[in-house]
C-alpha cells in the first residue's frame, strides 16, 4: 500500500489538495487542462487499440460482455438505493446513478500506472473496456429520470437522442473511440512511430493532471458537509462493492489478476468529465453539490489513494482462492 501512496502521481494529487486548502495561488491555465486531457485520452486509446489488435476475439468477448453488463446494471441498483435508502429525489438519484455507472479515465490511468509500477501484468486491451463503459450508464441514468418524471410545459426535456449524440461527439468518447480504432488499424509499426510521445511521458503527464485534479478535489472538500454522512459513506462503500463485483466477474471471464483488478477499478470509479456536463444539461434539477462532490471529492481521492492497493489485495484473495 505504501508503494502506491508514495508514487509521484498520488503525491502530486495530495499536493494539489493541500495547495487548494491553504488557498495557494497555484492555478492551471484552462488550455493546459484541456491539453492534458486530450493527451491522456489519445495515449490511452492509441495504446489500447494497438494491444487490442494483438488480442484474439476469444480473449476479449467475455470481459467485454462483463464490462457492458456492469455499466448497464450499476446505474439501476444505484438509483434504487439512492431513492429508497438515501431518500434522494428522482433527478438527484438518477444523476448519481449516471455518475457511478460511468467510468473515470483518470482513475483508470492511475490503475495502469499502479500495475506498471509493481510490474503486475494485465491485458493490454483494457482501454477498450473503458471506452465501452463510459456512455451507456449516463444514458440509462438520464432515462431513469425521464421514465419517472413526465415532461411538463415549464419543464421541457431535451430528447434522449440529442443527449446521446452530444455524448458520442463529446471529446472524451470521440478521442477514446477514435484512437482505439486508429491504434487497432495501424498495429505495431504505427504504434512504434508514436510511442515515444504517447508511452514514455504518460506517467509524467498523468502526474501533472493529478496535481490539477487535487486542486479541484480540494476545493470541493468544502462541499462535503452539504452531501451529508450518507453521501460520504456511499462514496466509499459503493466503489468497494462495485470493485469486488468487477474483480470477481472479471476473473470468471478469464482476466488475469491485473486485468480483473483494472475491471474492478472501472466498476468502482465514477465519471466526472462526461457525466457532469451531460447531467447538467439533461437533469438541471439535480444538484451538482451531490453528484460532483461525491464523484470528485470522495470516490476519486479514495480510489487513487486507498482503492487501488485495496482492490489489488482483494483481487489476490479472489483469484488465488
Amino acid at each position: 500500500m505504501l508503494a502506491s501512496i508514495l508514487s509521484p502521481m498520488v503525491l502530486a494529487f495530495l499536493l494539489g489538495i493541500i495547495a487548494s486548502r491553504v488557498k495557494s495561488d497555484l492555478k492551471f491555465p484552462d488550455s493546459l487542462y484541456q491539453s492534458l486531457t486530450i493527451y491522456l485520452l489519445i495515449a490511452i486509446g492509441m495504446k489500447g487499440g494497438y494491444k487490442l489488435s494483438l488480442a484474439t476475439f476469444e480473449e476479449v468477448w467475455q470481459p467485454a460482455l462483463v464490462a457492458i453488463g456492469l455499466c448497464c446494471t450499476i446505474p439501476l441498483w444505484t438509483y434504487v438505493l439512492m431513492r429508497k435508502v438515501g431518500k434522494f429525489d428522482v433527478p438527484n438519484a438518477a444523476a448519481l446513478a449516471a455518475h457511478y455507472g460511468s467510468v473515470s479515465a483518470v482513475t483508470f490511468s492511475a490503475a495502469l500506472a499502479f500495475h506498471e509500477n509493481l510490474s503486475i501484468p494485465f491485458e493490454g486491451f483494457m482501454p477498450s473496456m473503458l471506452a465501452m463503459m463510459e456512455i451507456p450508464a449516463i444514458l440509462i441514468g438520464i432515462s431513469l429520470a425521464r421514465i419517472n418524471t413526465p415532461p411538463t410545459e415549464s419543464n421541457p426535456q431535451i430528447p434522449i437522442k440529442e443527449v446521446a449524440r452530444e455524448l458520442f461527439a463529446g471529446k472524451s468518447s470521440l478521442l477514446l473511440l477514435g484512437f482505439l480504432l486508429i491504434g487497432f488499424s495501424v498495429g505495431k509499426t504505427g504504434w512504434e512511430q508514436v510511442a515515444p510521445l504517447f508511452d514514455l511521458p504518460f506517467k509524467g503527464v498523468l502526474t501533472l493532471f493529478l496535481l490539477e485534479a487535487g486542486l479541484v478535489a480540494g476545493r470541493k472538500l468544502s462541499d462535503l458537509k452539504k452531501g451529508g454522512l450518507f453521501l460520504i459513506g456511499f462514496g466509499i462503500i459503493f466503489p468497494i462493492v462495485h470493485a469486488i463485483i468487477g474483480i470477481y466477474l472479471g476473473s470468471l471471464a478469464g482476466l488475469s489478476l491485473g486485468g480483473a483488478t483494472i475491471l474492478g477499478v472501472l466498476a468502482s470509479s465514477a465519471s466526472y468529465i462526461a457525466a457532469p456536463a451531460a447531467c447538467r444539461v439533461a437533469l438541471p434539477e439535480a444538484n451538482p453539490s451531490y453528484y460532483l462532490t461525491s464523484a470528485l471529492a470522495i470516490t476519486f481521492p479514495f480510489n487513487i489513494m486507498f482503492g487501488l492497493p485495496l482492490y489489488h489485495e482483494i483481487a489476490k484473495l479472489i483469484i488465488t482462492q
Binding site: 484552462d30 487542462y33 484541456q34 415549464s154 421541457p156 485534479a213 486542486l215 479541484v216 476545493r219 466526472y272 468529465i273 457532469p276 456536463a277 447538467r280 444539461v281 438541471p284 434539477e285 451538482p288 460532483l292 470528485l296
Partner: protein
C-alpha cells in the same frame, strides 16, 4: 446612429451552444461570447471540471430583446445559474443588427 439594446447573458458554459442557437432563431443577427469567472448566488464556477461561466452578448432591437428575455425566463431562470440584463446602445451600420 440608431438605438438598439445590448443584451448580456451570463450563464453556465454547458448551455452556451444551445443558447447561441436560440438567440439566432429568435431574431439576433449574431453574438459574441467569452469565458468569464465570478461568484453569484449559485457559488463560484471557475474551473473546467465544473464548467466555467460564459458571457454572451448580442445587440438586438427592443422587440427581439424582450422576446429573448421572456424565452430565457421561461426555460432557464429557475433551473440554471443565469443572469441577463440589457442597456441601450447606439450603433452605426444598423444592417448588422436588423
Amino acid at each position: 446612429m440608431q438605438n438598439f439594446h445590448l443584451l448580456t447573458i451570463i450563464t453556465e458554459e454547458v448551455l452556451a451552444t444551445t443558447i447561441e442557437k436560440e438567440l439566432v432563431s429568435l431574431g439576433a443577427k449574431g453574438y459574441t461570447w467569452s469565458t468569464v469567472s465570478g461568484k453569484g448566488l449559485e457559488g463560484v464556477r471557475d474551473n473546467q471540471w465544473e464548467g466555467e461561466n460564459t458571457k454572451i452578448e448580442t445587440i438586438v432591437s427592443e422587440e427581439t430583446c424582450k422576446k429573448i428575455l421572456s424565452h430565457l425566463e421561461l426555460k432557464y431562470f429557475n433551473r440554471y445559474a443565469m443572469i441577463a440584463f440589457y442597456h441601450p446602445v447606439q450603433v452605426i451600420r444598423t444592417n448588422h443588427f436588423l
